[in-house]
Symmetry: C2
Subunit: 472 residues, 2 copies
């Protein structure tokens, strides 16, 4: 019996830290690299490209008439849009119980696949008799104020409302609506999210404690703003992941960048590289290739989950090339191992919905210097970032707004006397764990992580849910 429970925990943890990261929210996590990363993730998620029509019928889809702008009362703000949400009451204790509501906060993609993909909710629902709610993030999936994300992001009057403060206000309004609809006054709400959705979950508990009693913020890099986390945190972890998988693979990658540059600088060098890497169209710049590789290594580290363990797959290709192979042949073998044999490899894919949305949404100062990771140098430069934004959208980003609105600096000092009931969970191999909350802040602001040990997430969730029963 004990073994079974242990197995359950292990499985849950795998689910939280691996499966979820594959399925959760497909974050475009490095703004500079969106299209490529997104493309790679899309390739991997084809099997989940169902719409909600394919969901088992316990999952019912609804639409809420949502306020476009919660913080303005001008004529435009009274526009509304249809926000999609999905509910399963299969396990719910019912109106007159105090059974909890598990509310999944959608992140930077549609929620089509989330009820099947986010096992955490369905796994725990029977034990807690929980009502399950999945809410789609504004501007993604079917919850766009206009027909498509592309239209919304290209319209300067519409994209302004596309930000996290508005999104969590949507969730606040919608959750109160659901509580009323289900006569669930006494049901505590636990918000749950991963990656960007995990940031939203922790921010939601901080900003709306009167609506959510607790939050599970999985893999939430809430400290990747301003200068709280060193710029190279992300790439340092990617590099460590590769080094741990294979030292020779790590060193091969590390050496490859200079070789690419050297060849590219030669006459016909780009043609040579294009042929060597079977690019679908001729490279215009060595950066296209380097960016493609950069993204691939980042993504495989970020989603290095069983059963495939893509870091191992890439390194298997690199290390497994015939003895004496040239470094670039090894690098190419890594691509083939991961992406499969193909007539050509597309280094300039069209950005997906997630790519388009995330690029607009977030300023995360992620970069790296000379020789501090296995990558080529690419420091984050705020001035260039601002220039790019202005060129693309006509407006400057507000790089300090996230820390102004949500905080993050001195988080332990600030939150140890303020706030409660948040679990920050991180897998230390996730490059974004570098900006996660890894230490307990107080007895009810807990950090759990997986490395070799196995924290008991179940008990944390149970503590929150149980305390909430006393509470309301």
């Amino acid at each position: 019996m004990k073994m079974n429970k242990l197995f359950l925990f292990q499985w849950l943890l795998l689910l939280i830290f691996t499966k979820t990261s594959l399925i959760f929210s497909k974050p475009h996590k490095i703004p500079r690299l969106t299209p490529l990363i997104e493309n790679i993730i899309q390739d991997h998620s084809n099997t989940f490209s169902s719409s909600t029509n394919d969901l088992p019928k316990e999952f019912e889809t609804y639409y809420y008439k949502q306020t476009l702008d919660h913080f303005n009362y001008g004529p435009k703000s009274y526009s509304t849009f249809k926000q999609r949400y999905i509910i399963s009451s299969k396990y719910w204790g019912g109106s007159n119980s105090s059974s909890p509501i598990f509310a999944y906060l959608g992140a930077e993609s549609s929620i089509d696949r989330d009820p099947l993909g986010v096992g955490f909710l369905t796994d725990f629902a029977p034990q807690f008799k929980a009502l399950l709610v999945y809410m789609e993030h504004r501007y993604y999936g079917e919850s766009t104020p206009f027909k498509t994300m592309e239209e919304a992001v290209n319209d300067e009057d519409t994209r302004g409302y596309f930000n996290s403060a508005q999104a969590i206000a949507d969730y606040a309004e919608l959750l109160l609506h659901i509580k009323e609809k289900y006569s669930a006054k006494n049901s505590p709400i636990i918000v749950i999210g991963g990656s960007y959705g995990g940031m939203l979950a922790s921010w939601f508990r901080m900003k709306y404690p009167h609506i959510a009693l607790g939050a599970l913020a999985s893999s939430a890099p809430i400290l990747y703003f301003d200068n709280i986390t060193p710029q190279n945190g992300y790439y340092s972890v990617v590099s460590r992941d590769f080094k741990e998988a294979s030292k020779s693979c790590y060193h091969t990658i590390r050496k490859s960048w200079a070789i690419i540059d050297k060849i590219a600088s030669r006459k016909s060098g780009l043609s040579y590289l294009s042929r060597k890497f079977k690019t679908c169209s001729k490279l215009n710049d060595p950066f296209e290739l380097k960016d493609y590789l950069d993204s691939m290594y980042s993504v495989v580290a970020q989603y290095n989950s069983p059963p495939s363990y893509p870091v191992t797959i890439v390194c298997g290709g690199i290390d497994g090339a015939p003895e004496g192979s040239h470094i670039l042949d090894r690098i190419f073998a890594g691509i083939v191992a991961y992406r499969g044999t193909s007539s050509c490899y597309n280094m300039n894919p069209k950005p997906s919905e997630t790519g388009l949305g995330w690029r607009w949404q977030m300023v995360m100062p992620i970069g790296r210097g000379e020789n501090d990771t296995m990558f080529f140098s690419a420091p984050f430069n705020l001035n260039n970032f601002i220039k790019d934004c202005k060129k693309k959208y006509g407006v400057s980003p507000r790089p300090h707004w996230i820390t102004t609105y949500y905080g993050g600096k001195d988080i332990k000092l600030i939150l140890q006397r303020f706030g409660s009931n948040i679990i920050f969970s991180n897998g230390l191999r996730d490059p974004y764990s570098s900006a996660g909350v890894l230490q307990n802040i107080s007895h009810s602001l807990q950090a759990v992580h997986t490395r070799n040990g196995m924290p008991n997430i179940y008990n944390y969730v149970k503590t929150i849910c149980t305390s909430s029963l006393d509470y309301l």
Copy 2:
């Protein structure tokens, strides 16, 4: 020595609960009655109508280029406006100290007079070596995005940004700017406000705990939203205040409304009433007179401070009329006693800046039923309120937004495990205390009130400031 301290406390409390209520923010507290109330308040505050030019030179005036819309990234949001703030560093411990910053959050009026009027800050500053900051609320005083409040409120594109969430975001951004400007990284910020400003102070601490370490929310009716507080809470306290001042006065007022109606229904009744009450223009409706009286009684109760004690003045007039006087003669004597002898009394004054602004800002369901106060029946009717708003501004109010964004329902249950360092102070004779936090929520969310006893506000503030020194 002890007596001196006691005296100091008494004086401070008088200051907080009486003088401040006169000078603080001149709230138009009953939306329906704005113009009249405002007019009456203005009459009483003439002596303070200085601009900041008249302030002692320790108070320096600055302007911050403030973001018009913190929650939208459209082209319009990048508009900025000049937000006025005033600083006194006379007592400040300096950059390298951990001396606190006392930040006064401006409410629904200009801050011209606040540095002189809000004695709390200047009184405590020397003991705490505090930096004093007074910030003006957007759209009031010199901090309007357009030339005048009237223009801003009449422009449907501009007035939308005129709300409390944007205002506290202004304060967040501005306080971080001031911390940087004064190299005050280690200085804890305590936000302080009264009435609407008190609501802002408590909300600020809840929403921006990473910026303000504590809040003093004086006379803050944060529970006057949705159905948390009974509609007639406000008028019940006004009635009690009058009853306690003079039972006969209370009964005279109570009986007067039906008599006004009866006379008004007669042929030439309105002319008779106009003459009797020396109205500046002929009454068109008995409601004009009743509304004027209603406002006067409310205001004198709300600002019933020494040395004048206006409730006593009004009742002195009513009770002091010659024996055998008709009830309406007594009522008129009450007006004369309070407003002074005048050739006529203006029942339709032009709304002031505060009146114009507050009418737009807030939906507080304040009303009363038949015979549950000393007033005529005037229940709050949300549908009518919505109709009025639509007619006036073309948009509906969002009556549930305040409780959605800030909470308020089950406040004790919700906040006992969340939040800290807020003092809610109330004078129980203030009609708005009916919607204030009157009970302690936790050891650091304290309610203090004055009735007969005298709570030790000084120690509370000291506790917060001292703990903040350990804290940062």
